[in-house]
C-alpha cells in the first residue's frame, strides 16, 4: 500500500510540473505586461524580475481608451449571447422534445450543426453590405446579431444534447398536472440542465468576447472591441510588446474570472450526458 502511495505522490509532483510548464506562456505574457522596456528586451531573457511597473496599463487607459474598449466588449458579448441563448434554447428544446415528421428533426439538427463548421470570413463581406443597407454596421445590436452566425448553431446543438438528458417522464407528469410547455421549460427543463446551460453560456460568451475577424470588419469605429485593440498593437514586422500584452491581460481577465467561478458546472457540463 505504501509503495502505491509513493507512486501516487511522484505522479502528482510530475503532474504539477507538467501543468505549470504548460501554463508558462500565460505567465510570460502577464509578466511582460508589467515590465519596463529594459527587462522586456533583455538577452538572455529574464525569466523573473521584481522590477515591475504599471506604465503600460496607465498608458493604455490614458492614451488608448482601454476602458472604452472594455465597455464595448462588455455590451456586445452579453447581448449577443443573450440573443442566441433565448432563440437557441427554444429551438433546442423543440428539437430535443418533439417528433417531427420523417427524419426532418435530426436532419435540421445536423444541418444546423454543420453551419458551425463554416468560417465567418465566408459571410463577413455580404454581411457588411447587408448591414450597411440596414444601418447595422458599427451598432452594438448589429454586431451582436452577426455573432449569431457562430453562436446559434453551437448553442442549439449543445443545448439539444443537454435537454435530451432531462427525463421526459418528469415533463409528462407535469403536463398531466396541467402545466403548460412554458412553465415546464422554466421550472423543470432549465433547472435540471443547469451545468449544461452554464457550459454553453460560458463557451458562447468567450467566443463572442474573443471574436476578432467580424469585429474588425463590422465594428469599425464606435463599437470596436478588445481583440481589435490588441491586434492594433501587432503588425506584420513588429509589435508593441508593452501595450499588446497589457491589453491582452485586461481582455482575458473578465472571462477567466467568470469561467473559474462556474468551473464546477463547466466540468460537469463537459462530461456530457453521453458519459453517465
Amino acid at each position: 500500500m505504501s509503495k502505491r502511495r509513493i507512486i501516487l505522490i511522484v505522479l502528482t509532483i510530475v503532474a504539477c510540473v507538467v501543468v505549470i510548464a504548460y501554463l508558462f506562456p500565460v505567465y510570460w505574457l502577464v509578466s511582460m505586461s508589467f515590465r519596463i522596456q529594459k527587462d522586456m528586451f533583455a538577452w538572455p531573457p529574464k525569466l523573473f524580475t521584481l522590477h515591475l511597473t504599471l506604465r503600460n496599463y496607465k498608458g493604455l487607459v490614458e492614451g488608448h481608451g482601454l476602458l472604452w474598449y472594455l465597455r464595448n466588449s462588455a455590451i456586445i458579448a452579453p447581448l449577443s449571447v443573450a440573443l442566441s441563448m433565448v432563440i437557441g434554447s427554444v429551438a433546442a428544446y423543440g428539437l430535443a422534445r418533439f417528433r417531427y415528421p420523417g427524419k426532418v428533426g435530426s436532419q435540421i439538427a445536423s444541418w444546423i450543426l454543420s453551419l458551425r463548421m463554416l468560417p465567418p470570413v465566408a459571410a463577413v463581406l455580404p454581411l457588411f453590405l447587408i448591414f450597411s443597407r440596414l444601418r447595422l454596421v458599427d451598432k452594438f445590436y448589429g454586431i451582436s446579431l452577426a455573432y449569431t452566425f457562430f453562436n446559434l448553431p453551437f448553442i442549439i446543438w449543445l443545448l439539444k444534447i443537454y435537454f435530451e438528458d432531462v427525463p421526459e417522464e418528469v415533463e409528462q407528469a407535469a403536463l398531466v398536472d396541467g402545466a403548460n410547455r412554458i412553465q415546464i421549460f422554466f421550472r423543470i427543463t432549465l433547472p435540471l440542465s443547469t451545468p449544461g446551460i452554464a457550459t454553453t453560456f460560458i463557451l458562447a460568451l468567450a467566443a463572442s468576447w474573443n471574436e476578432f475577424l467580424m469585429a474588425s470588419q463590422l465594428a469599425t469605429f464606435n463599437t470596436r472591441t478588445l481583440p481589435v485593440l490588441i491586434a492594433s498593437f501587432i503588425w506584420d514586422r513588429n509589435l508593441q510588446w508593452g501595450y499588446a500584452t497589457a491589453s491582452a491581460v485586461i481582455s482575458a481577465l473578465p472571462i477567466l474570472i467568470i469561467g473559474l467561478f462556474i468551473q464546477r458546472y463547466i466540468v460537469k457540463g463537459l462530461s456530457f450526458g453521453a458519459v453517465k
Binding site: I87, L129, F272
Partner: protein, 309 residues
C-alpha cells in the same frame, strides 16, 4: 354555428365539444412544434444562408463596389480551381485541421489518463489551471507565441541556444508554429471532456482487468477506450467543427507568411476579399470551402450519430 353544444366537423357532421377540443389541441401541437424552430431558422437564413447565396452570385458575376457587373459564368471557377494559390491554401488548411485535431485528441487523452491518477484535491486545482487557455482569445494566444518565438529576445531562441532563430520566420516551420498555438489552446478542452469520462469508468471493471493481469495498453484498449468512446466522439466532433476556421492566430503570428507558408483557406479568403477587395475571387474560394465543409460535415455527422447510437 353549433347546436346542443356541438360543432360541425369538416365533413359537416356534428362532433362533441370535447372531441373538438382534443382535435384542436392535436392540431395546435402539430403546428406549435414548428414555432420553436422558426426564430432560429429565420435568423440562420438571414445571417448565414443569404450571405452565402450572395457570395455564390458574385462568383458568377464580376463584382465591383456592391454592383454585379459582367457575367463570368463558371470561368472564374475554372481559373481558380486549377490555380496554385488554391492548392497551397487547401493543403495548409488540411494539414492544420488534421494536425491540430489529432494532436489535441492524443495529448488530451494522455493528459487525462495521467492526471486521473493524481491526488484528488490537487487534481481539481490542476484542472482549473488547465481551463485557462480555453477562455483566452485566439488573438492573445497568437500574441503569446509570437513573443516567445521572437528571434531577438524570445525565450524559445534562448532555450535552444540559437539567437536569431524563430520558427515563425521559417517557411518550413511557420505552419507548425501556428499549429502549436492552436494545440496549446484546445488540448485542455479535450482533456476536460475526457477526464470527466475517465472518472466514470467503473472501478470494479478496471480492477477485474487488473486482477486478470491485463497490461496497461490492454486495459486501455479493451476497457478504457470503449467506455469513453462517446466522449471521444463528442470531443472530436467539437474540435473538427473549428478545425477549418483558424484565422486569428495566423493574422497575429504570421499574416499568412512567410510567403504563402501559413495561408490557409480562411486567410486566403480574407486576403483576397478584404485586403485586395477582389470579392468575386474571394467568393469563389469561399464556396470551394463551403462545399468541402458541407460534404465533410455530412459524412462526419452520419458517422458520429451512428457511433453515439
Amino acid at each position: 354555428m353549433g347546436h346542443k353544444g356541438g360543432f360541425h366537423g369538416l365533413d359537416g357532421r356534428t362532433i362533441s365539444r370535447a372531441n373538438f377540443e382534443s382535435r384542436r389541441r392535436r392540431w395546435w401541437a402539430g403546428v406549435s412544434k414548428w414555432l420553436y424552430l422558426l426564430p432560429a431558422l429565420a435568423i440562420l437564413v438571414g445571417i448565414v444562408i443569404y450571405p452565402l447565396i450572395y457570395m455564390f452570385r458574385s462568383t458568377l458575376f464580376q463584382w465591383q463596389a456592391g454592383i454585379f457587373g459582367r457575367f463570368l459564368g463558371l470561368s472564374l471557377w475554372a481559373k481558380l480551381l486549377t490555380g496554385e494559390t488554391l492548392r497551397i491554401a487547401l493543403t495548409n488548411s488540411v494539414i492544420l485541421a488534421v494536425g491540430t485535431v489529432v494532436c489535441e485528441l492524443l495529448l488530451g487523452l494522455a493528459l487525462a489518463l495521467f492526471l486521473n491518477e493524481t491526488l484528488g484535491r490537487l487534481r481539481t486545482v490542476l484542472r482549473a489551471g488547465l481551463l485557462i487557455p480555453i477562455f483566452i482569445a485566439p488573438v492573445i494566444v497568437g500574441l503569446m507565441w509570437r513573443i516567445i518565438f521572437n528571434p531577438q529576445y524570445g525565450v524559445f531562441a534562448w532555450a535552444i541556444g540559437q539567437r536569431g532563430f524563430s520558427p515563425i520566420a521559417r517557411d518550413d516551420l511557420a505552419l507548425y508554429a501556428i499549429m502549436l498555438s492552436e494545440i496549446w489552446q484546445w488540448t485542455p478542452f479535450v482533456f476536460i471532456i475526457l477526464l470527466a469520462a475517465l472518472q466514470s469508468v467503473p472501478i470494479d471493471v478496471l480492477e477485474a482487468a487488473l486482477v486478470d493481469g491485463a497490461s496497461f495498453p490492454k486495459r486501455l484498449r479493451h476497457v478504457i477506450i470503449p467506455h469513453i468512446l462517446p466522449a471521444i466522439i463528442i470531443a472530436l466532433l467539437l474540435r473538427s467543427m473549428e478545425a477549418f476556421k483558424i484565422f486569428d492566430t495566423i493574422q497575429v503570428m504570421t499574416h499568412g507568411g512567410p510567403g504563402r507558408a501559413t495561408e490557409d483557406m480562411t486567410y486566403l479568403i480574407f486576403r483576397t476579399g478584404i485586403w485586395v477587395s477582389d470579392v468575386s475571387t474571394a467568393a469563389t474560394y469561399s464556396w470551394v470551402l463551403v462545399i468541402i465543409l458541407t460534404v465533410l460535415a455530412s459524412f462526419f455527422l452520419k458517422y458520429a450519430y451512428r457511433e453515439r447510437g
